[in-house]
């Protein structure tokens, strides 16, 4: 387990840069904030002894998804949004709904007593989670693992179909 100090550092890092994603006017800045936010998230994963997931998170998000975002932003040549008239009522409404959702989640988490106990100890701290996950993946999760192939097939074919220029 990580010390509370580090937890708060990374949690706040993640949340602040998460907020920066949606506040920034410039899409490139948003994308970079997203990367930082996900690094914070990956650190939180490590704090939960989920090393494999933490690594994957960095690899996939920072490595792949972020590049994709940046690539599209560059491709479409998007600059910072010109200052449009912001629809304050709609924005306030959206933020209010999101806040209500957040407080709803807070209040029900409060009422979940089991969550207030500390995490149960692990038998051995040495991370062999890659092996464990690998075993599960090829035993219990064979089927979804195959199906994920179909998801990627759909995405690949779909992206090619959609982004190819139509020859008239």
């Amino acid at each position: 387990m990580m010390s509370p100090f580090l937890f708060w550092i990374f949690a706040i890092l993640m949340l602040v840069f998460g907020a920066a994603v949606i506040i920034n006017r410039n899409p490139v800045a948003s994308a970079l904030s997203l990367v930082v936010s996900f690094f914070g998230l990956a650190a939180l994963f490590l704090s939960l002894d989920a090393y494999f997931i933490g690594v994957i998170q960095v690899l996939v998000y920072a490595g792949a998804i972020m590049v994709l975002f940046l690539f599209i932003i560059m491709l479409l040549d998007l600059r910072a949004e010109e200052l449009r008239k912001i629809n304050w009522i709609a924005s306030a409404g959206g933020i209010a709904v999101a806040l209500a959702l957040m407080f709803q989640i807070f209040s029900v988490v409060e009422k979940f007593p089991a969550a207030k106990q500390s995490f149960p100890p692990l038998a051995k701290p040495a991370p062999d989670d890659v092996r464990q996950i690998g075993l599960l993946l090829f035993n219990n999760y064979t089927l979804p693992f195959q199906i994920i192939g179909i998801v990627i097939l759909v995405a690949t074919v779909g992206v090619i179909i959609l982004s190819r220029r139509e020859t008239r």
């Binding site: 899409p27 989920a50 994709l68 599209i72 409060e110 982004s163």
Partner: protein, 106 residues
């Protein structure tokens, strides 16, 4: 001491931030990023629960981590398709702003 509660609250906040982004922002690419935040909020709570439900043998419940593994993959596919739609639309409309998309109204 940091407990499950803290993780869940942080996750809830991240989800709310993402949702606010989806509702408030008009730039489709940023909406897509906000969607990623929402998905990752779910990932965080799943991993926290995985650490919380420790197996009899003293290991975290890896089922949830595998779930996260799948979610990350699916999220990548979803982003790819979403961006492809944005590109297709940009070719026709030269915009990535949802307010400019008015051919179909409510």
């Amino acid at each position: 001491m940091i407990t499950l509660e803290h993780y869940l609250m942080v996750s809830g906040m991240l989800f709310a931030i993402g949702f606010a982004g989806v509702m408030v922002r008009r730039n489709i690419i940023i909406i897509l990023m906000a969607l990623e935040l929402m998905l990752n909020a779910a990932n965080l709570s799943l991993v926290a629960f995985s650490r919380f439900h420790v197996n009899a043998s003293g290991t975290p419940n890896y089922n949830a981590q595998i779930f996260v593994f799948f979610i990350i993959t699916v999220a990548a596919a979803e982003v790819a398709v979403g961006l492809a739609i944005v590109v297709a639309l940009f070719r026709l409309r030269q915009t990535t702003n949802v307010e400019d998309i008015t051919a179909l109204k409510f």
